[in-house]
Amino acid sequence: MDTTIAETGQLWPWLIPGLPLMGALLTGAMHLAGLRRPKNDDKATSKPLAANIAILAMAAAFAFSIKGFLALRGGEANILSTSYDWIPTGDFTVSWSLMIDHLSSLMTLVVTGVGLLIHIYAAGYMKGDTGYAKFFAYLNLFVAMMLMLVLSDNMVGTFVGWEGVGLCSYLLIGFWYKDSWRAEAAQKAFVVNRIGDAAFLLGMFILATTLGSLDYSAINSEASLLAKPELPWKLSLAALLLFGGACGKSAQIPLFVWLPDAMAGPTPVSALIHAATMVTSGVYLVVRLNPLFAAAPLVLTLIGAIGAATAFVAGTSALRQRDLKGVLAYSTVSQLGYMFLALGVGAFSSAIFHLVTHAFFKALLFLAAGSVIHGMNKEQDMHKMGGLKAHMPKTCLTFIAGAAALSGLPLMSGFFSKDEILAQAFAGGGVSLILWAVGLVTAAITATYTWRMVALVFFGKERFDKQAVHPHESGALMTTPLFVLALLSVGGGILGLPIVFHAPHILGEWLAPVVEPGQAILAAAHNGHLSHLTEWILLGVGAMIALGCAHLAFHAHRQGTQSDLAFETKHPELALSLSNAWGIDRAYQVMLVQPVMTAASAISTLFDLALIDGAVNGLGRFAQRLGQRVSRQASGHLGAYGLTIGGAACALAAIWMWIGA
């Protein structure tokens, strides 16, 4: 890590997470203040104010992100901003410090940019909700935490954001807490995230104890140094555990189960947290620590494998969803799998590329879906939609743009990012070829479910109850962000055009200083440079598959729900298990959750109450009973007293005689 740190005295980077945090505090205070007021108070006055504050905070944060970006672009070294010591551990000290480097700068741009759009959208979407100010407080807090996550110079700071976004996710999933299933989903999200966090913690401890520091710069330089000779297994273990943390946050097998349930939150939340930002933090972490992971090839392979598996499993699940947001949720999991697949083959910048484009088009898809749901009076079942193109053209248009990007139709942003990953996998050779194959299949699946969704929602017959539902287009506040995002989804590809286009890979070059150390370590392992021809062929294959599957799926579902129902009647069990993510969630319930709860009640009643407490109380009762017996000796029967005293005297005399002897 030769990118040295130039300036440490600057505190303005703190404004990037700080402003949303202030926004959160302000809007939160507004919410709390609103609670204390009489019920019939005019809340309307405070409402736009809350949204405005939040949006303003986001805009300012975005502005400062750009400032950071420009500073770096101007050739400045990484900007380190240390405020004060946080935790002195005795051996080293953890500080509150932020670092703007090429990676974090990019992430802040994405987070604040997409976040800003979603905020604007949410101002329209949440209109009329009683928890309006609260919602924006949470949303702003989330952004602050996410920025903390990506900006922190050390792992502990990242962990603050890491858990902070988890918390906000919890709060937002359970935003409509009156429905207990939403509250349960929130709890599940938090707990599953915590499993990952626990692994993260352990990984962090390994690094802290072996390397003596938790600053990224120190870890990355140390790790790459250690990588040269025999790698200590401890570092591999650390990498594995950190990946465990990433699994939790980025919803990878085996910890992905919370994400589909997380759709219980309001749709902007799904867009922001469960598609664009928080779930990508796992990817961010691996890239941030790329020398460490590069130095642990086994872990890297595992990451690739898990990524591929997740991509496939989630993709197939997405095929059978009837819930609009369900499809998107599983799609997100699947795409995250893609990113991990990329990480697994050492294509760090490709993963980030996909992360960025995914943030664009998935946010778009969610927001558009939100617009649909909004227009359909909270209806989410695709089987009860159809033909919405006519009712909400703007939404339809933007949704199709997103779908095209997601499914990787040629020249869309997703096309480039996905194909870059596939190309890298193919270039890796050996085991990576399997990953490539899985990726390709998943690409086909992706195209299939995406266009199934498009067809079911916007085309074909109108299957909803026309008396009850009057689909309508959303307001400008909501559609404007859609268009911005659509633009980004379509054109995002220019960030990373393939080499064969002979255009600069903007993103790759931008990230080069960050991923270089990792790449350097990996360089020894494989040097996958593809010939231009191969790359052309791969691009072509990708385009063909995407187009073909998209076409087939669109036409199969255009007519309506028949093909879905046909499949369900033909393979009912398969359909069910597919729609439930291969039944993994159910398996967790049966194999993990229930045993733990049973064990808890068993420990509580059988072990603790019966055994330990029983022993304590038993001791008490035993003493009581013994006391009864002892007490009963003094019965008032003088004969017995005499016998005891005489006998005892004799015994004492005998003992004494024995002692004397």
Binding site: G639, A640, G642, L643, G646, G647, A649, C650, A653, A654, M657
Partner: protein, 187 residues
């Protein structure tokens, strides 16, 4: 001859003591007790303690026995009705226990006696020089070092008189004067 007399006296006192314990009639027990005390007094005499033999007879025979007899009579304990009411002589429920404890007491004492080698005086257990009796020595000790015990005993007698009087008095009639009673005289 003198020694033989000791064994006779010892036998008498032991037999009488047994009689005290097993007699059904308390009056008989009192008489047996008197016999036992007399035997012991004889042993005192044989051992050279004439004064002690005398007070043994005087105090035990003359006072304590009379006291016992008096109470037995007072409470009609010789009466057949009373005898019947007391449900047998011995406490059958704790016969075994009592015998065991008494027996073990005897055993412990006898073992202790048997296993201890008391030094034997060269000239046997004959009277020492300087008189027939340790009376002078006793007097000197009582008014010398043991004066505290002696005076204590006198206080004890006084307290006993008060206590016994209080106990034996019937309730509700409060006499002011503390006349000496038969109990006190016995001391």
């Amino acid at each position: 001859m003198v020694d033989l007399l000791f064994y006779v006296a010892a036998a008498v006192s032991v037999l009488c003591a047994l009689g005290v314990v097993v007699s059904a009639n308390p009056v008989q027990s009192v008489m047996m007790l008197l016999g036992s005390f007399t035997g012991i007094a004889l042993i005192y005499l044989l051992a050279g303690f004439q004064f002690l033999a005398a007070i043994q007879i005087l105090v035990y025979g003359g006072a304590i026995m009379v006291l016992f007899l008096f109470v037995v009579m007072l409470l009609n304990q010789g009466d057949p009705v009373a005898l019947a009411r007391e449900q047998g002589v011995l406490h059958k429920e704790q016969l075994a226990g009592g015998l065991a404890v008494a027996g073990s007491a005897l055993a412990v004492l006898l073992v202790a006696v048997a296993r201890t080698d008391l030094p034997r005086p060269i000239f046997g257990y004959l009277w020492p020089e300087g008189g027939l009796d340790p009376l002078l020595g006793m007097a000197q000790a009582m008014f010398g070092p043991y004066v505290l015990a002696f005076e204590g005993a006198s206080v004890l007698l006084l307290a006993t008189a008060v206590g016994v009087m209080t106990l034996a008095k019937r309730q509700r009639n409060k006499p002011v004067a503390a006349a000496s009673t038969s109990e006190e005289a016995s001391a």
